[in-house]
Amino acid sequence: MTSHAATEKSRSRPAPPSPQDIRRKHVGDALFRGITALAAASVLALAAIYVVQMALNSWEAVRHFGWSFVVGTTWDPVFEEFGALPVIWGTVISSLLALLIAVPISLGVSIYLTEIAGRRIRRIIEFLIEILASIPSVVYGLWGIFVLVPLVRSIQPHLTSWFGFLPLFQGPPFGYGMLTAGIILAIMILPIMTSLTREALHAVPNHQREASLALASTRWEMIRHAVLPYNKSGIIAAIVLGLGRALGETMAVTMVIGNQPTISTSLFMPAQTIASLIANEFAEASSSLYLSVLIELGLLLFGITLLLNVGARLLVNRISHAGGRRR
């Protein structure tokens, strides 16, 4: 028995490691690194392919119109005159309108959920927010047509009679238009923005709240001066994500915005966004120039989103440095 154990022992005694052995140990790591790097590269590749393909396919339109495409205000497919400024305007304004409505609400809901609500109510509201996030865009659009459009139509005459001196509130009561699109977008980006903002506030450590209260602040002062500033970058990230969604949202917008590529100062006039216009006119794009124009619009939307994202990143950096945060 003992001799057997001894031979066993001597057999399993490890030999001094050779260079090959050392290298073999790292094969798994190298493989893993390779696979993850490949996954990361595929993101880059997809973006590059997207941009290149779009650029190639829109080349005809770019060559034909040049910069006048971006600043032109006439959209007339029949005479092949294409100016994208009205849809750029429509895209940016409807999205900003959505932010204007949704940011204060999502901030309010998040503050209520993290700082005030009891556990029971918090659970219920969080569940409802998730439900809202999963409603398909086309359903929001239907709701917009049957509820929101008549509502805006019936409210508009009052707004016009009170604030009609402002160009913002002039125009006939269509119900379909910029404001309706903004409201629908606001409702649609509310869930994602709220849950991200809530996460951001939740990430503020309790010792910051205690520090503020111990220095004789009221609860509101604590929220305003200790909780919100602590994670500004998280809140801004939530807003940026909401903005990105609003810029690209297609279906619900096209159902309520009125689909007219015109620039108007009135909130009630019909307008058009890039995504909505592409969806509407793609099937009718008969000539190759027309098709190329629609693809250039897609490229333009990509550019606008990129620009706003970079801008927001810079804003976050500046704010976090100004806030004296060490990163």
């Binding site: 450590p205 309790n206 010792h207 910051q208 709240r209 205690e210 520090a211 503020s212 209260l213 111990a214 220095l215 004789a216 602040s217 009221t218 609860r219 002062e221 001066h225 200790a226 500033p229 602590y230 806030g323 004296g324 945060r325 060490r326």
Partner: protein, 274 residues
């Protein structure tokens, strides 16, 4: 009585307070039959004690004995954790759990320093004047003056005077804790509560904090929770020993550590448990 909401934390004029405190009474804090419950946990079981004005009182005891809970009842920080409080707690002559009490004003008079330094991610200057700004003070001269005095009082001025507008997070842990003390002092409190203020610091930084506590004695009534018995001996005039939510013994620090009246105190200070 539940103290979950701060609905009553609306500011009232501080006259009521100053009337009570014109002549400093011998005891800044007087607690009678205090019980605290967290849900079903009975965290404090009938604590009665008095804390002398202008002295340093140490609260010692093993983890979970209720000493931190007790400290947090003194400025109603327990309100945050849904604690249920029964009994009477008089701080600076006022029953602080009476419904008419202005919690915000209470916390202005009773400052608190926490276990881990918790500066705001703002500049050093903004940290010190945080409380003043919440009081609505905007005058830059006043703010600068109070900031300087508070930082000097907290023995931090010489180290930070040239970089008041740098982030407070660039300071070392010990400096951050002294900043938190300066921040509390800026509101000119009468009482300073310290919840293991040196437990996250290295020995040199700890020594500085202890020196500071001794310097502040006399001008402030200091209540300090500590795990470190040597620290209690070094800085405090009186010591209270807590065990399982009860106050076992309170006496002058010298007496408690040399001739403890209770067997359990003796066991604890001689290191037999805890």
């Amino acid at each position: 009585m539940t103290n979950r909401s701060f609905a009553h934390a609306v500011r009232t004029p501080p006259d009521r307070w100053s009337m009570q405190v014109t002549q400093a009474p011998a005891h800044a804090i007087s607690v009678q039959g205090l019980h605290v419950y967290y849900g079903t946990v009975h965290a404090l079981k009938g604590i009665s004690l008095k804390i002398k004005t202008g002295q340093v009182t140490a609260l010692i005891g093993p983890s979970g004995c209720g000493k931190s809970t007790f400290l947090r009842t003194l400025n109603r920080m327990n309100d945050l954790t849904e604690a249920v409080v029964a009994g009477s707690v008089f701080v600076l002559g006022e029953n602080i759990y009476s419904p008419q009490v202005d919690v915000v004003e209470l916390r202005r008079r009773v400052g608190m320093v926490f276990q881990t330094p918790n500066p705001f991610p703002k500049s050093i200057f903004e940290n010190v004047v945080f409380g003043l700004r919440r009081q609505g003070i905007k005058d830059r001269r006043v703010l600068a003056e109070v900031a300087e005095n508070s930082l000097k009082r907290a023995a931090l001025w010489d180290e930070v005077k040239d970089r008041l507008h740098d982030s407070a997070l660039t300071l070392s842990g010990g400096q951050q804790q002294r900043l938190c003390i300066a921040r509390a002092l800026a509101l000119e409190p009468k009482v300073l509560l310290m919840d293991e203020p040196a437990s996250a610091l290295d020995p040199v930084a700890t020594a500085k904090i202890e020196q500071l506590i001794m310097d502040l004695k006399g001008d402030y009534t200091i209540v300090i929770v500590t795990h470190n018995m040597q620290q209690a001996v070094r800085v405090s005039d009186e010591t209270a020993f807590f065990l399982n939510g009860e106050l076992i013994e309170m006496a002058s620090t010298r007496t408690l550590f040399t001739q403890p009246a209770d067997r359990r105190t003796e066991d604890y200070i001689s290191g037999r448990f805890g």
